[in-house]
Structures are given as structure tokens and as C-alpha cells.
Symmetry: C2
């Protein structure tokens, strides 16, 4: 079986933008398959990392911009932050992951948020994002609020918690977890060093 | 003038162990001069990153161990943590930095703490560390509690704060700051990309 890396992510995390925009190319080059696994990153956090910490928050945005430029990822300026109600865009990601279009959707959602500074809490924005992918916006949005998808989102969050995940993005290879976009290369390296199962 | 990188560190920080053990070799290879600048990292922190967060703390130690092995840095097992009163070992570092023996002292202090699991809050341990470097332990310890050294430590902490530093280790090149051992390569890269002054 091909080596694979589980990519636990949360639309609302800032550094996740960098990962979302670069993981496919890196994985292709490394011969690693990626499982996109949206989960409720906010629910597993023990604190808000930047709330009431303007210096750290300022550094974070400067760092995200600096890394975007270094990694040749599109950048305009600091987007609206934080998202107050990020559940709907993440539950759409759950549907997309199940149906195999998580990479396209997640990139499109982050482009809307980070590059066009659109509000992902607005269902009209989400409908446009879905429309751009050839999906039926109203139908997907309705499904995103259904009980099975809510349950799947909660279940994935419990899986993440049981693995010891406490933030996003986190990469999982076997029992090893790597937290943060800046650990993506290390996670790939680890993944390639273990025997395929 | 040779390119240089300011290395703001704090004996008490866990990831700083990795940096302390590898920065000299990396800097030599990259042709960058390093200024070792001990400061009160705890004073600039807006929170204790692991207090009351056992999952995150467990990840941190696993990650430090994993990275130590990956970077070929000595490792035994998790040392006593946290240091409750880390000021004396850090004020000794201030003296060492002023007199040009900060790398030797800081590595020796971290080896005592991380590899032999000794208590750096104990002046007998510090005296032994100093003795191992051919220094006069009692004299250095007395100096470490003197007003000028206390003031220098406080001054460096203010410099760090004014630069927007909120944790250790942090690397500074010009006006750019890079936080975390895992950003050392990026900081070196940045340092080399700017015109020497």
C-alpha cells in the first residue's frame, strides 16, 4: 500500500492556509498519499493562541506573510480574523472529504477568505465557492447542517482528540503526530522512513 | 562586516536546548556570526505554554526528543521541568555573554539539566558547571547577584520586548524576528539574503 499521511485541519486556522496551498505538490513529489481530515480544531484547543496577545498575533500574521512569500504562495494582506462561527465551512469540508473533493473545496474556501477577504460565515459566500466548483450550493449547505454530517464532524474531532491532537494543522503518520505547517516536511520524511503497511 | 544573527535565549526554555546544541555548527557552515543574548524569556511570555495543558506538554517533550534524535543531539529522558527559579543560571549567562564564554557555559548548563537531570536552581550545581569551564564558581555566582548584572539582564529583556519578542529561542536579523528552534534555518537564510552592513 502507498504510504499515507493524515492531514487534520480546520478552516479558521491561519497557518493551515499555507499547508492547504502546498501539501498536494509536496506529497506528489514525495510519493505520499494525503487523507484530508477536517475536524473541529477549535474544540480541542485549550486556549485561544492569540486572543489578548497582540504582540504574538502580530508576529503570527507577519510570519504567515513571510512564509507565504518564501513558499511562493499567493498573498494579499491580512484577512478578517478570527472566524466567529466556522462550523458550516468545516462541515462542508467533511462532505467534500467524504466525496473526494476536499482539496479543491478547501483551497477555494481559503482563497475566498485569505485573498478576497470574504466572510466564510456568510452562506452566500460559501454558495459562491461551491458554485465555482460546479457543486449545487443550496443542496450542499443543507447537507452540511444535517445530523449525519454534524455527527461525522464530531466523530473526527474525537478521533483527533484521542490521537493527542491539540491544534491545526496536524499531520499523523502511524502513531506520530506533527503539529504545524512548519513540520510538514518533517512529517513527510517520517512517513517515508516507515515501512508501508 | 560579517553577517550576524542575534540569538535571544533563556535557560529554562525546552526547545532552546536544541538550538544551543546546534547553532554554532550551523552558523559556522553558513558563515554567520552569532550574538548570544540571554534575556528573561519568562518575563515576556503572556502565558505559560504548557501549564495545565498536559496533552500539549506531552507533545512538546515527545517532539523535543524526536527532534534531538533527528538532529543528532544527545538525549537521555525528560529532565526535571519546569525550573521554578531560573534567574541565577540566566544571569550567569549574561556574564558569560559579556566575557565571551556564553556558548560553552550555556551548553554545559543545558547538559547538566537535560542529560544529567541536575537542578540548575541549586548553586552547588552551577558552581560545578563553572568549575568544569575553569571558572571561579563562588566569584561568578557572587557577580551574578550583583546590581550591574541584574540591570544588564533587565535591560536585555527590555530590548527583547521592544523588538516584539514573546518567547525563546528567538533569532533576530535586522528588524526580522524568528521564533522557535524550528525556524533557525529560516533565520539563517534570511540573514544571508540581506546585504551585510
Amino acid at each position: 500500500m502507498r504510504r499515507h499521511l493524515d492531514f487534520f485541519y480546520f478552516i479558521g486556522s491561519t497557518y493551515t492556509y499555507l499547508t492547504v496551498m502546498r501539501i498536494e505538490e509536496l506529497a506528489e513529489r514525495e510519493g505520499v498519499a494525503v487523507n484530508w481530515r477536517p475536524f473541529n480544531g477549535r474544540a480541542v484547543m485549550t486556549e485561544h493562541p492569540f486572543h489578548g496577545k497582540p504582540v504574538k498575533c502580530g508576529y503570527m500574521w507577519h510570519d504567515v506573510e513571510r512564509r507565504a512569500k518564501r513558499l511562493d504562495i499567493e498573498w494579499t494582506s491580512v484577512p478578517p480574523y478570527p472566524l466567529e462561527r466556522p462550523n458550516v465551512p468545516n462541515r462542508i469540508a467533511v462532505i467534500a472529504a467524504h466525496e473526494g473533493w476536499a482539496p479543491e473545496y478547501t483551497k477555494a474556501a481559503y482563497r475566498a477568505w485569505f485573498l478576497r477577504h470574504q466572510n466564510l460565515e456568510d452562506e452566500k459566500v460559501l454558495a459562491e465557492v461551491l458554485d465555482g466548483l460546479g457543486k449545487d450550493g443550496p443542496s450542499v449547505l443543507a447537507q452540511a447542517s444535517s445530523e449525519p454530517i454534524r455527527q461525522k464532524f464530531a466523530d473526527e474531532t474525537e478521533v483527533a482528540r484521542s490521537l493527542g491532537i491539540f491544534g491545526a494543522p496536524t499531520f499523523v503518520s502511524g502513531t506520530e503526530i506533527f503539529w504545524g505547517d512548519d513540520r510538514l516536511e518533517e512529517a513527510m520524511e517520517w512517513c517515508k522512513s516507515i515501512r508501508p503497511q
